[in-house]
Protein backbone atom coordinates (compact mmCIF):
# COMPACT_ATOMS: atom_id res chain seq x y z
CA UNK A 1 0.00 0.00 0.00
CA UNK A 2 2.76 2.42 1.00
CA UNK A 3 4.77 1.42 -2.04
CA UNK A 4 1.74 2.06 -4.25
CA UNK A 5 1.25 5.46 -2.69
CA UNK A 6 4.91 6.30 -3.18
CA UNK A 7 4.75 5.15 -6.79
CA UNK A 8 1.69 7.29 -7.34
CA UNK A 9 3.34 10.22 -5.59
CA UNK A 10 6.39 9.88 -7.84
CA UNK A 11 4.16 9.61 -10.92
CA UNK A 12 2.19 12.69 -9.83
CA UNK A 13 5.33 14.72 -9.17
CA UNK A 14 6.94 13.65 -12.43
CA UNK A 15 3.92 14.83 -14.41
CA UNK A 16 3.82 18.04 -12.34
CA UNK A 17 7.49 18.65 -13.10
CA UNK A 18 6.93 18.30 -16.85
CA UNK A 19 4.40 21.09 -16.46
CA UNK A 20 6.87 22.99 -14.30
CA UNK A 21 9.30 22.97 -17.24
CA UNK A 22 6.62 24.43 -19.54
CA UNK A 23 5.85 26.96 -16.85
CA UNK A 24 9.53 27.97 -16.57
CA UNK A 25 9.51 28.56 -20.34
CA UNK A 26 6.40 30.72 -20.06
CA UNK A 27 8.00 32.61 -17.19
CA UNK A 28 10.90 33.63 -19.45
CA UNK A 29 8.43 34.85 -22.06
CA UNK A 30 5.75 36.44 -19.92
CA UNK A 31 7.12 36.79 -16.39
CA UNK A 32 10.39 38.37 -17.43
CA UNK A 33 9.67 39.85 -20.83
CA UNK A 34 5.92 40.46 -20.99
CA UNK A 35 5.34 38.41 -24.16
CA UNK A 36 1.74 37.21 -24.21
CA UNK A 37 2.10 33.69 -25.64
CA UNK A 38 -1.27 31.93 -25.93
CA UNK A 39 0.11 29.23 -28.19
CA UNK A 40 1.89 27.16 -25.54
CA UNK A 41 0.18 23.91 -26.58
CA UNK A 42 1.53 24.25 -30.11
CA UNK A 43 5.13 24.73 -28.99
CA UNK A 44 4.90 21.81 -26.54
CA UNK A 45 3.51 19.67 -29.36
CA UNK A 46 6.44 20.49 -31.65
CA UNK A 47 8.92 19.32 -29.01
CA UNK A 48 6.95 16.17 -28.32
CA UNK A 49 6.56 15.16 -31.94
CA UNK A 50 10.16 15.95 -32.93
CA UNK A 51 11.50 13.92 -30.03
CA UNK A 52 9.10 11.07 -30.77
CA UNK A 53 10.14 10.99 -34.43
CA UNK A 54 13.81 11.02 -33.54
CA UNK A 55 13.65 8.26 -30.95
CA UNK A 56 10.96 5.78 -32.04
CA UNK A 57 11.96 2.77 -34.12
CA UNK A 58 11.40 2.84 -37.87
CA UNK A 59 7.67 2.60 -38.47
CA UNK A 60 6.29 1.36 -41.79
CA UNK A 61 3.96 3.84 -43.45
CA UNK A 62 5.25 6.75 -41.37
CA UNK A 63 8.23 9.10 -41.73
CA UNK A 64 10.92 7.95 -39.30
CA UNK A 65 11.48 7.07 -36.61
CA UNK A 66 15.18 7.30 -36.36
CA UNK A 67 15.72 5.18 -33.28
CA UNK A 68 18.06 7.67 -31.66
CA UNK A 69 18.84 7.89 -27.93
CA UNK A 70 16.27 9.63 -25.75
CA UNK A 71 18.70 12.42 -24.84
CA UNK A 72 19.12 13.25 -28.54
CA UNK A 73 15.34 13.31 -28.88
CA UNK A 74 14.99 15.76 -26.00
CA UNK A 75 17.73 17.97 -27.33
CA UNK A 76 16.29 17.82 -30.85
CA UNK A 77 12.81 18.60 -29.54
CA UNK A 78 14.09 21.63 -27.64
CA UNK A 79 16.18 22.93 -30.54
CA UNK A 80 13.45 22.39 -33.15
CA UNK A 81 10.89 24.16 -30.96
CA UNK A 82 13.35 26.96 -30.23
CA UNK A 83 13.88 27.41 -33.96
CA UNK A 84 10.12 27.28 -34.69
CA UNK A 85 9.50 29.82 -31.92
CA UNK A 86 12.23 32.03 -33.33
CA UNK A 87 10.55 31.97 -36.76
CA UNK A 88 7.14 32.73 -35.26
CA UNK A 89 8.70 35.47 -33.16
CA UNK A 90 10.52 37.00 -36.12
CA UNK A 91 7.11 37.53 -37.74
CA UNK A 92 5.10 38.52 -34.68
CA UNK A 93 7.37 39.93 -31.95
CA UNK A 94 6.71 43.54 -32.96
CA UNK A 95 2.99 43.07 -32.42
CA UNK A 96 1.27 44.60 -29.42
CA UNK A 97 0.53 42.12 -26.62
CA UNK A 98 -3.07 41.40 -27.60
CA UNK A 99 -2.17 40.86 -31.25
CA UNK A 100 0.75 38.65 -30.27
CA UNK A 101 -1.70 36.57 -28.23
CA UNK A 102 -3.98 36.12 -31.24
CA UNK A 103 -1.04 35.29 -33.51
CA UNK A 104 0.41 32.68 -31.15
CA UNK A 105 -3.03 31.16 -30.59
CA UNK A 106 -3.32 30.86 -34.37
CA UNK A 107 0.06 29.15 -34.51
CA UNK A 108 -1.01 26.64 -31.86
CA UNK A 109 -4.22 25.84 -33.74
CA UNK A 110 -2.22 25.45 -36.97
CA UNK A 111 0.27 23.10 -35.27
CA UNK A 112 -2.55 21.05 -33.78
CA UNK A 113 -4.28 20.75 -37.16
CA UNK A 114 -0.98 19.83 -38.82
CA UNK A 115 -0.27 16.99 -36.41
CA UNK A 116 -3.87 15.86 -36.81
CA UNK A 117 -3.71 15.73 -40.59
CA UNK A 118 -0.07 14.98 -41.45
CA UNK A 119 -0.67 11.29 -40.90
CA UNK A 120 2.44 10.07 -42.79
CA UNK A 121 4.60 12.05 -40.36
CA UNK A 122 2.68 12.36 -37.12
CA UNK A 123 0.38 9.37 -37.20
CA UNK A 124 -2.59 11.74 -37.53
CA UNK A 125 -5.39 11.18 -35.02
CA UNK A 126 -3.79 7.89 -33.91
CA UNK A 127 -0.70 9.70 -32.71
CA UNK A 128 2.68 8.07 -32.12
CA UNK A 129 3.00 5.19 -29.71
CA UNK A 130 5.87 3.10 -28.37
CA UNK A 131 7.88 6.22 -27.60
CA UNK A 132 10.85 4.89 -25.63
CA UNK A 133 10.58 5.53 -21.92
CA UNK A 134 13.62 6.27 -19.78
CA UNK A 135 14.56 3.31 -17.59
CA UNK A 136 12.18 1.04 -19.51
CA UNK A 137 14.27 -1.94 -18.39
CA UNK A 138 12.96 -1.51 -14.83
CA UNK A 139 9.34 -0.86 -15.84
CA UNK A 140 8.39 -4.11 -14.14
CA UNK A 141 9.15 -2.47 -10.80
CA UNK A 142 6.73 0.49 -10.73
CA UNK A 143 8.22 2.09 -7.63
CA UNK A 144 11.77 2.08 -8.92
CA UNK A 145 10.64 3.06 -12.41
CA UNK A 146 8.67 6.05 -11.08
CA UNK A 147 11.45 7.08 -8.72
CA UNK A 148 14.09 7.07 -11.47
CA UNK A 149 11.87 9.05 -13.82
CA UNK A 150 11.16 11.52 -11.05
CA UNK A 151 14.89 11.85 -10.39
CA UNK A 152 15.58 12.64 -14.05
CA UNK A 153 12.79 15.22 -14.24
CA UNK A 154 13.86 16.76 -10.92
CA UNK A 155 17.44 17.04 -12.20
CA UNK A 156 16.24 18.76 -15.39
CA UNK A 157 14.05 21.17 -13.42
CA UNK A 158 16.88 22.00 -11.01
CA UNK A 159 19.35 22.60 -13.85
CA UNK A 160 16.85 24.76 -15.72
CA UNK A 161 16.00 26.66 -12.56
CA UNK A 162 19.66 27.42 -11.86
CA UNK A 163 20.32 28.47 -15.47
CA UNK A 164 17.23 30.67 -15.61
CA UNK A 165 18.01 32.25 -12.25
CA UNK A 166 21.47 33.08 -13.51
CA UNK A 167 19.94 34.67 -16.59
CA UNK A 168 17.30 36.54 -14.58
CA UNK A 169 20.02 38.09 -12.40
CA UNK A 170 22.33 38.84 -15.31
CA UNK A 171 22.51 42.08 -17.28
CA UNK A 172 20.50 40.22 -19.96
CA UNK A 173 17.66 39.62 -17.48
CA UNK A 174 17.89 43.19 -16.26
CA UNK A 175 17.47 44.57 -19.75
CA UNK A 176 14.53 42.24 -20.39
CA UNK A 177 12.78 43.60 -17.29
CA UNK A 178 13.57 47.13 -18.38
CA UNK A 179 12.03 46.46 -21.81
CA UNK A 180 8.99 44.92 -20.14
CA UNK A 181 8.53 47.96 -17.88
CA UNK A 182 9.14 50.72 -20.42
CA UNK A 183 10.28 49.86 -23.91
CA UNK A 184 10.61 53.51 -24.98
CA UNK A 185 12.99 54.27 -22.13
CA UNK A 186 14.95 51.08 -22.80
CA UNK A 187 15.33 52.03 -26.46
CA UNK A 188 16.61 55.45 -25.44
CA UNK A 189 19.29 53.63 -23.44
CA UNK A 190 20.44 51.83 -26.58
CA UNK A 191 18.79 48.49 -25.86
CA UNK A 192 17.68 46.53 -28.91
CA UNK A 193 14.25 45.56 -27.67
CA UNK A 194 13.27 43.48 -30.69
CA UNK A 195 16.40 41.33 -30.58
CA UNK A 196 16.18 40.72 -26.82
CA UNK A 197 12.46 39.93 -26.91
CA UNK A 198 13.06 37.52 -29.75
CA UNK A 199 15.81 35.80 -27.78
CA UNK A 200 13.53 35.46 -24.75
CA UNK A 201 10.69 34.16 -26.92
CA UNK A 202 12.91 31.52 -28.55
CA UNK A 203 14.51 30.44 -25.26
CA UNK A 204 11.07 30.11 -23.67
CA UNK A 205 9.88 28.14 -26.70
CA UNK A 206 12.87 25.79 -26.56
CA UNK A 207 12.12 25.09 -22.89
CA UNK A 208 8.48 24.35 -23.75
CA UNK A 209 9.68 22.00 -26.48
CA UNK A 210 11.93 20.22 -24.00
CA UNK A 211 8.94 19.85 -21.68
CA UNK A 212 6.84 18.40 -24.49
CA UNK A 213 9.60 15.92 -25.28
CA UNK A 214 10.03 14.76 -21.68
CA UNK A 215 6.28 14.43 -21.26
CA UNK A 216 5.99 12.36 -24.43
CA UNK A 217 8.69 9.94 -23.25
CA UNK A 218 7.29 9.73 -19.76
CA UNK A 219 3.81 8.77 -21.02
CA UNK A 220 5.05 6.81 -24.04
CA UNK A 221 2.28 7.95 -26.35
CA UNK A 222 1.26 11.24 -27.94
CA UNK A 223 -1.78 12.29 -29.96
CA UNK A 224 -3.15 15.62 -31.20
CA UNK A 225 -5.75 15.68 -28.44
CA UNK A 226 -2.95 16.17 -25.89
CA UNK A 227 -2.24 19.61 -27.31
CA UNK A 228 -5.60 21.34 -27.16
CA UNK A 229 -5.99 24.91 -25.79
CA UNK A 230 -6.78 23.43 -22.36
CA UNK A 231 -3.04 22.79 -21.99
CA UNK A 232 -2.30 26.46 -22.62
CA UNK A 233 -4.92 27.44 -20.04
CA UNK A 234 -3.48 25.04 -17.46
CA UNK A 235 0.05 26.41 -17.85
CA UNK A 236 -1.09 30.02 -17.64
CA UNK A 237 -3.06 29.16 -14.48
CA UNK A 238 0.07 27.51 -13.05
CA UNK A 239 2.24 30.56 -13.63
CA UNK A 240 -0.30 33.03 -12.29
CA UNK A 241 -1.02 30.90 -9.22
CA UNK A 242 2.68 30.36 -8.47
CA UNK A 243 3.81 33.88 -9.21
CA UNK A 244 4.63 35.36 -12.58
CA UNK A 245 8.22 36.54 -12.83
CA UNK A 246 9.40 34.08 -10.20
CA UNK A 247 11.04 30.80 -11.30
CA UNK A 248 10.31 29.15 -7.96
CA UNK A 249 6.73 30.36 -8.28
CA UNK A 250 6.50 28.78 -11.73
CA UNK A 251 7.55 25.40 -10.32
CA UNK A 252 5.31 25.69 -7.25
CA UNK A 253 2.35 26.80 -9.37
CA UNK A 254 2.76 23.77 -11.63
CA UNK A 255 2.71 21.40 -8.65
CA UNK A 256 -0.27 23.14 -7.00
CA UNK A 257 -2.43 23.38 -10.11
CA UNK A 258 -1.54 19.86 -11.23
CA UNK A 259 -2.52 18.78 -7.71
CA UNK A 260 -5.90 20.48 -8.06
CA UNK A 261 -6.28 18.84 -11.45
CA UNK A 262 -5.47 15.37 -10.09
CA UNK A 263 -7.65 15.75 -6.98
CA UNK A 264 -10.58 17.06 -9.00
CA UNK A 265 -10.22 14.15 -11.47
CA UNK A 266 -10.33 11.74 -8.56
CA UNK A 267 -13.34 13.54 -7.07
CA UNK A 268 -15.19 13.45 -10.38
CA UNK A 269 -14.63 9.71 -10.75
CA UNK A 270 -15.77 9.11 -7.18
CA UNK A 271 -18.83 11.37 -7.09
CA UNK A 272 -20.31 10.95 -10.54
CA UNK A 273 -21.65 7.77 -12.10
CA UNK A 274 -19.62 6.37 -14.99
CA UNK A 275 -21.97 7.61 -17.71
CA UNK A 276 -21.73 11.19 -16.38
CA UNK A 277 -17.98 11.29 -15.85
CA UNK A 278 -16.98 12.51 -19.31
CA UNK A 279 -19.27 15.51 -18.95
CA UNK A 280 -18.34 16.07 -15.31
CA UNK A 281 -14.65 16.27 -16.28
CA UNK A 282 -15.31 19.88 -17.24
CA UNK A 283 -15.56 20.56 -13.51
CA UNK A 284 -11.78 20.15 -13.38
CA UNK A 285 -11.39 23.30 -15.47
CA UNK A 286 -13.98 25.01 -13.28
CA UNK A 287 -11.94 24.14 -10.18
CA UNK A 288 -8.75 25.53 -11.69
CA UNK A 289 -10.66 28.66 -12.68
CA UNK A 290 -11.97 29.01 -9.12
CA UNK A 291 -8.43 28.57 -7.74
CA UNK A 292 -7.18 31.18 -10.17
CA UNK A 293 -9.86 33.65 -9.04
CA UNK A 294 -9.06 33.00 -5.39
CA UNK A 295 -5.34 33.57 -5.94
CA UNK A 296 -5.94 36.74 -7.95
CA UNK A 297 -8.13 38.10 -5.17
CA UNK A 298 -5.93 37.07 -2.25
CA UNK A 299 -2.44 37.38 -3.76
CA UNK A 300 -2.58 39.24 -7.05
CA UNK A 301 1.11 38.53 -7.72
CA UNK A 302 0.69 34.80 -7.09
CA UNK A 303 1.77 32.66 -4.16
CA UNK A 304 5.41 33.75 -4.34
CA UNK A 305 5.28 36.85 -6.55
CA UNK A 306 8.10 38.39 -8.49
CA UNK A 307 11.35 38.91 -6.65
CA UNK A 308 13.38 42.06 -6.85
CA UNK A 309 16.84 41.36 -8.19
CA UNK A 310 19.23 43.00 -5.78
CA UNK A 311 22.86 43.13 -6.61
CA UNK A 312 25.22 41.36 -4.34
CA UNK A 313 28.46 42.34 -6.05
CA UNK A 314 30.70 44.63 -4.04
CA UNK A 315 29.92 46.89 -1.10
CA UNK A 316 27.95 50.13 -1.30
CA UNK A 317 29.95 53.33 -1.27
CA UNK A 318 29.80 55.75 1.64
CA UNK A 319 29.34 55.09 5.33
CA UNK A 320 25.75 56.11 5.71
CA UNK A 321 24.13 53.58 3.38
CA UNK A 322 21.15 51.69 4.68
CA UNK A 323 21.83 47.97 4.94
CA UNK A 324 21.01 45.99 1.81
CA UNK A 325 17.53 44.53 1.98
CA UNK A 326 17.42 40.76 1.86
CA UNK A 327 17.82 39.30 -1.59
CA UNK A 328 14.70 37.83 -3.16
CA UNK A 329 12.45 40.03 -1.09
CA UNK A 330 9.02 39.71 -2.69
CA UNK A 331 7.89 42.92 -4.35
CA UNK A 332 4.74 42.95 -2.28
CA UNK A 333 6.57 42.62 1.01
CA UNK A 334 5.60 45.37 3.40
CA UNK A 335 8.26 47.82 4.46
CA UNK A 336 9.04 47.74 8.18
Amino acid sequence: MILDLMAYGAFFLTMALTYAIICLGLNVQWGQTGLFNVGIAGFVAIGAYVSALLTTPDAPGRFGGFDMPIAIGWLGGALATGFATFLVGALTIRLRADYLAIATFGVAVAVQLCVLNLEPVTGGPFGISFIPRPFASVAGNPSLFSALNLAVLAAIVILLYLALERLARSPWGRVLRAIREDETAALALGKNAVRLRLQAFAIGGAIMGLAGATQAHFIGFIAPDNYMPTLTFQVWAMLIVGGSGNNRGAILGAVVVWGIWAVSASAVSTVFPTEQQARAASLQIVMIGAALCAILLLRPRGILGEVRMFHRVGPATGNDQPPDPPVNEPLHAEKP
Binding site: R174, L187, L189, Q199, H311, V313, A316, Q321
Partner: protein
Protein backbone atom coordinates in the same frame (compact mmCIF):
# COMPACT_ATOMS: atom_id res chain seq x y z
CA UNK B 1 20.46 87.08 -34.87
CA UNK B 2 17.66 86.19 -37.27
CA UNK B 3 16.37 82.75 -38.11
CA UNK B 4 18.58 80.77 -40.44
CA UNK B 5 21.65 78.63 -40.37
CA UNK B 6 23.42 80.86 -37.93
CA UNK B 7 25.51 78.22 -36.21
CA UNK B 8 27.07 76.52 -39.17
CA UNK B 9 29.93 78.91 -39.28
CA UNK B 10 30.74 78.77 -35.58
CA UNK B 11 32.61 75.55 -35.45
CA UNK B 12 36.12 76.57 -36.20
CA UNK B 13 36.08 74.74 -39.48
CA UNK B 14 34.78 71.40 -38.09
CA UNK B 15 31.28 70.06 -38.55
CA UNK B 16 28.78 70.66 -35.73
CA UNK B 17 28.22 67.75 -33.37
CA UNK B 18 24.52 67.75 -34.20
CA UNK B 19 23.15 69.44 -37.27
CA UNK B 20 19.50 69.54 -38.22
CA UNK B 21 18.61 70.77 -41.71
CA UNK B 22 15.16 71.52 -43.08
CA UNK B 23 13.56 69.06 -40.69
CA UNK B 24 9.84 68.45 -41.19
CA UNK B 25 7.52 66.22 -39.20
CA UNK B 26 3.83 65.86 -40.06
CA UNK B 27 1.22 64.26 -37.85
CA UNK B 28 -1.62 63.96 -40.33
CA UNK B 29 -2.40 67.53 -41.29
CA UNK B 30 -0.37 69.02 -38.43
CA UNK B 31 3.15 70.20 -39.27
CA UNK B 32 4.63 69.87 -35.79
CA UNK B 33 8.12 70.64 -37.07
CA UNK B 34 8.15 72.64 -40.25
CA UNK B 35 11.53 73.13 -41.86
CA UNK B 36 13.59 73.46 -38.68
CA UNK B 37 17.35 73.94 -38.92
CA UNK B 38 19.83 74.29 -36.10
CA UNK B 39 23.26 73.15 -35.05
CA UNK B 40 24.89 72.17 -31.78
CA UNK B 41 28.61 72.57 -31.28
CA UNK B 42 30.77 70.27 -29.24
CA UNK B 43 30.88 71.33 -25.58
CA UNK B 44 28.21 74.04 -25.67
CA UNK B 45 24.97 74.23 -23.71
CA UNK B 46 22.03 75.43 -25.77
CA UNK B 47 18.54 76.24 -24.57
CA UNK B 48 15.59 75.34 -26.79
CA UNK B 49 12.59 77.44 -25.92
CA UNK B 50 9.25 78.33 -27.43
CA UNK B 51 5.57 78.54 -26.54
CA UNK B 52 3.49 75.42 -25.99
CA UNK B 53 2.94 73.62 -29.28
CA UNK B 54 6.04 75.18 -30.85
CA UNK B 55 7.41 71.73 -31.71
CA UNK B 56 10.26 71.56 -29.21
CA UNK B 57 9.57 68.09 -27.91
CA UNK B 58 8.85 66.80 -31.41
CA UNK B 59 12.23 68.18 -32.52
CA UNK B 60 13.75 66.53 -29.46
CA UNK B 61 12.13 63.21 -30.35
CA UNK B 62 13.39 63.52 -33.90
CA UNK B 63 16.95 64.17 -32.76
CA UNK B 64 16.66 61.31 -30.24
CA UNK B 65 15.34 58.96 -32.94
CA UNK B 66 12.00 58.33 -31.22
CA UNK B 67 10.30 59.80 -34.32
CA UNK B 68 11.33 59.57 -37.94
CA UNK B 69 11.26 62.84 -39.88
CA UNK B 70 8.85 63.32 -42.76
CA UNK B 71 11.69 65.04 -44.58
CA UNK B 72 14.92 66.84 -43.81
CA UNK B 73 18.17 65.64 -42.38
CA UNK B 74 19.76 65.00 -39.00
CA UNK B 75 23.54 64.61 -38.85
CA UNK B 76 25.53 63.58 -35.82
CA UNK B 77 29.29 64.14 -36.14
CA UNK B 78 28.64 64.68 -39.83
CA UNK B 79 26.97 61.29 -40.30
CA UNK B 80 23.42 61.28 -41.63
CA UNK B 81 21.30 59.28 -39.16
CA UNK B 82 17.75 60.51 -39.85
CA UNK B 83 16.32 57.00 -40.31
CA UNK B 84 18.19 55.21 -37.55
CA UNK B 85 16.11 53.86 -34.67
CA UNK B 86 16.26 55.33 -31.15
CA UNK B 87 18.36 52.43 -29.84
CA UNK B 88 21.20 53.50 -32.14
CA UNK B 89 21.46 57.05 -30.78
CA UNK B 90 23.39 56.13 -27.65
CA UNK B 91 25.97 54.48 -29.87
CA UNK B 92 26.23 57.82 -31.67
CA UNK B 93 26.87 59.52 -28.36
CA UNK B 94 23.42 61.08 -27.90
CA UNK B 95 21.43 60.47 -24.72
CA UNK B 96 18.08 61.90 -23.69
CA UNK B 97 15.77 62.38 -20.75
CA UNK B 98 11.99 62.58 -20.98
CA UNK B 99 9.61 65.45 -20.27
CA UNK B 100 7.68 63.11 -17.96
CA UNK B 101 10.36 60.89 -16.41
CA UNK B 102 10.21 57.25 -17.41
CA UNK B 103 11.98 55.19 -14.73
CA UNK B 104 11.60 51.41 -14.72
CA UNK B 105 9.24 51.50 -11.75
CA UNK B 106 9.59 47.99 -10.34
CA UNK B 107 13.36 47.93 -10.70
CA UNK B 108 15.55 49.36 -7.98
CA UNK B 109 17.12 52.79 -8.35
CA UNK B 110 20.52 51.09 -8.71
CA UNK B 111 19.23 48.71 -11.37
CA UNK B 112 17.72 51.62 -13.25
CA UNK B 113 21.13 53.25 -13.47
CA UNK B 114 22.88 49.97 -14.31
CA UNK B 115 20.55 49.56 -17.27
CA UNK B 116 22.25 52.56 -18.83
CA UNK B 117 25.59 50.71 -19.05
CA UNK B 118 26.73 50.13 -22.61
CA UNK B 119 28.55 47.27 -24.33
CA UNK B 120 27.99 44.86 -21.47
CA UNK B 121 28.97 41.29 -22.37
CA UNK B 122 26.32 40.08 -19.95
CA UNK B 123 23.56 41.49 -22.17
CA UNK B 124 24.36 38.61 -24.54
CA UNK B 125 22.65 35.70 -22.78
CA UNK B 126 25.22 33.06 -23.70
CA UNK B 127 28.03 35.10 -22.15
CA UNK B 128 26.44 34.52 -18.75
CA UNK B 129 27.44 30.87 -19.12
CA UNK B 130 30.64 30.94 -21.16
CA UNK B 131 32.16 34.27 -20.14
CA UNK B 132 31.25 34.58 -16.50
CA UNK B 133 34.57 36.10 -15.43
CA UNK B 134 34.35 38.88 -17.98
CA UNK B 135 30.68 39.51 -17.19
CA UNK B 136 31.40 39.71 -13.45
CA UNK B 137 34.33 42.10 -13.97
CA UNK B 138 32.22 44.38 -16.18
CA UNK B 139 29.36 44.23 -13.71
CA UNK B 140 31.66 45.23 -10.84
CA UNK B 141 32.92 48.19 -12.86
CA UNK B 142 29.36 49.13 -13.80
CA UNK B 143 28.26 48.94 -10.17
CA UNK B 144 31.08 51.23 -9.10
CA UNK B 145 30.19 53.74 -11.78
CA UNK B 146 26.45 53.52 -11.06
CA UNK B 147 27.02 54.16 -7.36
CA UNK B 148 29.26 57.12 -8.14
CA UNK B 149 26.53 58.55 -10.37
CA UNK B 150 23.93 57.99 -7.66
CA UNK B 151 26.22 59.91 -5.32
CA UNK B 152 26.43 62.64 -7.96
CA UNK B 153 22.64 63.04 -8.01
CA UNK B 154 22.24 62.41 -4.25
CA UNK B 155 20.18 59.25 -4.66
CA UNK B 156 22.71 56.82 -3.20
CA UNK B 157 20.66 56.23 -0.08
CA UNK B 158 17.73 55.13 -2.18
CA UNK B 159 19.70 52.73 -4.38
CA UNK B 160 17.85 49.62 -3.24
CA UNK B 161 14.38 51.15 -3.33
CA UNK B 162 12.10 50.52 -6.30
CA UNK B 163 12.06 53.55 -8.58
CA UNK B 164 8.29 53.91 -8.20
CA UNK B 165 8.73 55.35 -4.69
CA UNK B 166 10.74 58.34 -5.95
CA UNK B 167 9.26 61.82 -6.14
CA UNK B 168 8.95 63.62 -9.47
CA UNK B 169 12.18 65.55 -8.95
CA UNK B 170 14.07 62.45 -7.83
CA UNK B 171 12.86 60.66 -10.96
CA UNK B 172 14.36 63.42 -13.08
CA UNK B 173 17.66 63.00 -11.25
CA UNK B 174 17.46 59.24 -11.66
CA UNK B 175 16.94 59.66 -15.40
CA UNK B 176 19.94 61.95 -15.53
CA UNK B 177 22.11 59.41 -13.71
CA UNK B 178 20.77 56.61 -15.92
CA UNK B 179 21.66 58.37 -19.13
CA UNK B 180 25.04 59.46 -17.78
CA UNK B 181 25.78 55.79 -17.17
CA UNK B 182 25.92 55.49 -20.96
CA UNK B 183 28.48 58.29 -21.03
CA UNK B 184 26.93 60.18 -23.95
CA UNK B 185 28.74 63.09 -25.55
CA UNK B 186 25.47 64.99 -25.99
CA UNK B 187 22.70 65.06 -23.39
CA UNK B 188 19.22 66.13 -24.46
CA UNK B 189 17.39 67.36 -21.35
CA UNK B 190 13.62 67.73 -21.69
CA UNK B 191 12.31 70.18 -19.09
CA UNK B 192 14.47 69.07 -16.16
CA UNK B 193 13.04 71.83 -13.95
CA UNK B 194 9.33 71.16 -14.56
CA UNK B 195 7.48 70.51 -11.31
CA UNK B 196 10.64 70.62 -9.22
CA UNK B 197 10.81 72.49 -5.90
CA UNK B 198 13.22 75.47 -5.69
CA UNK B 199 15.83 73.65 -3.59
CA UNK B 200 15.98 70.71 -5.96
CA UNK B 201 15.95 73.10 -8.91
CA UNK B 202 19.16 74.72 -7.63
CA UNK B 203 20.69 71.28 -7.28
CA UNK B 204 19.67 70.30 -10.82
CA UNK B 205 21.10 73.55 -12.20
CA UNK B 206 24.35 72.85 -10.37
CA UNK B 207 24.55 69.29 -11.71
CA UNK B 208 23.79 70.34 -15.29
CA UNK B 209 26.43 73.06 -15.09
CA UNK B 210 28.94 70.55 -13.69
CA UNK B 211 28.23 68.17 -16.57
CA UNK B 212 28.75 70.91 -19.12
CA UNK B 213 31.96 71.84 -17.33
CA UNK B 214 33.08 68.23 -17.73
CA UNK B 215 32.69 68.60 -21.48
CA UNK B 216 29.18 67.30 -22.08
CA UNK B 217 27.30 69.03 -24.85
CA UNK B 218 23.79 69.83 -23.65
CA UNK B 219 20.56 70.73 -25.41
CA UNK B 220 18.01 71.89 -22.88
CA UNK B 221 14.28 72.32 -23.42
CA UNK B 222 12.99 74.49 -20.62
CA UNK B 223 10.18 76.90 -19.88
CA UNK B 224 11.99 78.28 -16.86
CA UNK B 225 13.71 81.26 -18.53
CA UNK B 226 15.73 82.04 -15.44
CA UNK B 227 17.27 78.60 -15.56
CA UNK B 228 17.94 78.91 -19.29
CA UNK B 229 19.55 82.32 -18.80
CA UNK B 230 21.79 81.02 -16.01
CA UNK B 231 22.93 77.94 -17.88
CA UNK B 232 22.93 78.56 -21.59
CA UNK B 233 25.21 80.74 -23.65
CA UNK B 234 22.93 80.42 -26.64
CA UNK B 235 19.18 80.02 -26.95
CA UNK B 236 17.24 78.69 -29.94
CA UNK B 237 13.63 79.81 -30.14
CA UNK B 238 10.98 77.79 -31.97
CA UNK B 239 7.47 78.80 -32.87
CA UNK B 240 4.93 76.98 -35.03
CA UNK B 241 7.49 74.28 -35.83
CA UNK B 242 10.04 76.73 -37.22
CA UNK B 243 13.19 78.41 -35.99
CA UNK B 244 12.09 81.84 -34.88
CA UNK B 245 15.43 83.20 -33.81
CA UNK B 246 18.54 82.39 -31.85
CA UNK B 247 21.09 84.28 -29.81
CA UNK B 248 22.17 84.91 -26.25
CA UNK B 249 19.46 84.74 -23.58
CA UNK B 250 19.48 88.55 -23.36
CA UNK B 251 19.15 88.93 -27.12
CA UNK B 252 16.26 86.53 -27.52
CA UNK B 253 14.35 87.83 -24.51
CA UNK B 254 14.34 91.30 -26.11
CA UNK B 255 13.50 90.02 -29.58
CA UNK B 256 10.07 91.34 -30.63
CA UNK B 257 9.15 88.09 -32.41
CA UNK B 258 9.89 86.11 -29.24
CA UNK B 259 7.81 88.43 -27.10
CA UNK B 260 5.02 88.20 -29.65
CA UNK B 261 5.27 84.40 -29.85
CA UNK B 262 5.03 84.00 -26.08
CA UNK B 263 2.05 86.36 -26.03
CA UNK B 264 0.37 84.32 -28.80
CA UNK B 265 1.20 86.43 -31.81
CA UNK B 266 2.98 83.69 -33.79
CA UNK B 267 1.94 80.35 -32.29
Amino acid sequence: MQAGFATNDLVNGSAPLIQVSGLVKHFGGLRAVDGMSMALRRGEMVGLIGPNGAGKTTLFNLIAGALKPTSGEIRIADIEISDEGPEKRIGRGVGRTFQIPRPFPEMTVLENVLTGAQNQSGERFWMNFVGTGRVAAEERAALEKARALLDFVLLAKLQNEPARVLSGGQRKLLELARILMADPEVVLLDEPAAGVNPTLLEFIIDRVRTLNGQGKTILLIEHNMEMVARLCGRVVVMAAGKLLTEGTPAEVSRHPAVVSAYLGGVA
